[in-house]
Amino acid sequence: MSDITLDRQLVSEADTLVVPAPGYWKSVGQRLLRDRVTVAVTVVLFGILFITLGAPLVTHYNPYAGSVLARLKPIGTPGHWLGTDETGRDLWTRLCYGGRLSLLAAILPVTISLLVGGFLGILAGYAGGFLGTLIMRTMDVFYAFPSILLAIAICGLLGNGLLNSIIALAVVFIPPMVRVSETVTTQARNLDFVEAARASGSSTLQIIRHHVLANVLGPIMVYATSLISVSIILSAGLSFLGLGVTPPQAEWGLMLNSLRQAIYVQPYVAALPGLMIFATSMCFNLMSDGVRGAMDVRLNK
């Protein structure tokens, strides 16, 4: 066999070995689909989303209509498979409808803090200098408060209500969001290809849009998902204290608090709303772990 044919054989072998490299996000998606825990958790989350948004499809009771005769029925009562609450309202119905406000009160603050905190953080990280220091030092002051304390203080002073609890939590989540986005932006700003773009005459806006945002949004989004898990616990906690959603509205934290008074009458029923808070928070936590793992190229070697 001559050298030339051998070379040719090698070349053709190399050709068949070359598989078009999948894009980054495509490979992240593939890794996510292989991760059984993340897939299971996502299915559960969609299930929760379905029973809350599609509540009229899974129950025919009115979440506000109680019956004096059917107060505090145990789990497994015919017609009320999860029992009833202290005014005789069907608990399964209340849990389904209650998820709407619980999820809204948890996701909206994270979204607001993602927009405001992300903007401030990227600004501080990219601009640096006096503006960056000013933003970061202001955030340091808010960091000096334990998050629950700050949320309770703001919500307690603004007065109870869904809107105030959303505002309070958004204020609590903005500082950590600013810090995370500032850190990743500072790292991205000093990457070689950003330097190259700057040297080749790209405008600041172009650099931010094409190079910085592309590198920064992923980690910020992952952080936001992990915040949702905290947000669910905190927003339900505010309602639990009587600072968030007001009765007779259905919300998991509020339901937990009112059923707590009946713990000696119907112990298991009283624990159910908390189970929903726990399950939802846990699912968001595991999902954010999964996404973080799938996005970290180093971990997947």
Binding site: T138, F145, L149, I152, N285
Partner: protein, 312 residues
């Protein structure tokens, strides 16, 4: 080292000033004078003016702030507008009760967390790792107020093992009063356990991958001395998180204190909110936030003492 400590302490001063400004400002994000909200509608303007003058709410805002800060530094937070008793006295009693819970909860949570994290890392990928990692993940996403209710359900409602709430009478023997501590302390320990456990696992795994660990074993060190080296290297980040977690236990115990009806600072804050008792509210938040800042300061200095690389 001393220089680092002094510089770090000086840096805390502007933060504390900012904190005091936020605490003071928070109260004034709602329009209206704290006294107006408390007085009955039929009260005469003279009485209202008298009350405002008595509690110092008649001065311009910046004067109110300066006076408040000046007195606060001396431990004088004025009188509660709800029952006209000194705020400081109420706060000290409440803080003592919260400290008892927080210290015991932290001690339990931190030791369990370190144990779980260490075992998970040393048995990486095997069943102890899986079990402890699962426990830690649950601990992180547990709504602790719900956990408190579940504990009450099992230990006080279904079985008559432990008291459901309160902190017991002073006249009771110590053994009985300790029973009141069990459930709140367990509840408070769960989140620190999960958080510390996860960090210890990650940090120790990271250290185990470094060359010097292999070198230590290669030169013939047995298991325990190697673990001691690992522990020393893992200490700074874990210590930092412990400081934060202890601060959360102090400032965030309000939900657990509500469930157990524990007369601590969280309970005091809750009452102050519903009574719109502004002096108590300001004092509680300011003192808790100050503790949080000082705690972080202490942790920073301790970290630098352990790891000279941090002293820059």
């Amino acid at each position: 080292m001393l220089l680092f400590a002094i510089r770090r302490m000086l840096q805390a001063i502007p933060i504390l000033l900012g904190v005091s400004l936020v605490v003071f400002g928070l109260v004034h994000i709602v329009p209206g004078n704290p006294i107006d909200m408390l007085m009955p509608p039929e009260a005469s303007p003279e009485v209202i003016a008298q009350m405002k003058a008595a509690f110092g709410f008649d001065k311009p805002l910046y004067m109110q702030y300066l006076l408040w800060l000046l007195r606060a530094v001396q431990g004088d937070f004025g009188l509660s507008v709800f029952n006209a008793t000194p705020v400081w006295g109420q706060l000290v009693t409440a803080l003592e009760n919260t400290f008892v819970l927080a210290i015991l909860g932290a001690a339990l949570g931190f030791s369990l967390g370190i144990l779980c994290g260490m075992v998970s890392a040393l048995y990486h990928g095997r069943w102890p790792d899986k079990v402890f990692s699962a426990i830690a993940t649950v601990g992180v996403s547990l709504p602790h107020y719900w956990c408190a209710i579940v504990l009450v359900l099992f230990c006080a409602v279904l079985h008559d093992w432990l008291p459901a709430q309160g902190m017991g009478d002073d006249s009771l023997p110590l053994y009985h009063r300790l029973q009141y501590l069990v459930l709140p302390v367990i509840t408070l320990s769960l989140i620190p356990m999960g958080v510390i456990g996860r960090l210890v696992r990650a940090t120790v795994l990271d250290i185990l991958g470094q060359d010097f660990v292999g070198a230590l074993s290669a030169k013939g060190l047995t298991r325990w001395p190697v673990i001691r080296h690992i522990a020393k290297n893992a200490a700074p980040p874990v210590l930092a998180l412990m400081g934060l977690q202890f601060g959360y236990l102090l400032g965030g115990s309000i939900l657990v204190e509500t469930v157990f009806n524990w007369p601590g600072s969280g309970n005091l804050l809750n009452l102050a909110i519903f009574r719109r008792d502004i002096p108590v509210l300001q004092a509680t938040i300011l003192v808790l936030a100050t503790f949080f800042v000082l705690l972080n300061l202490l942790v920073d200095i301790a970290q630098a003492a352990i790891d000279p690389r941090i002293r820059r």
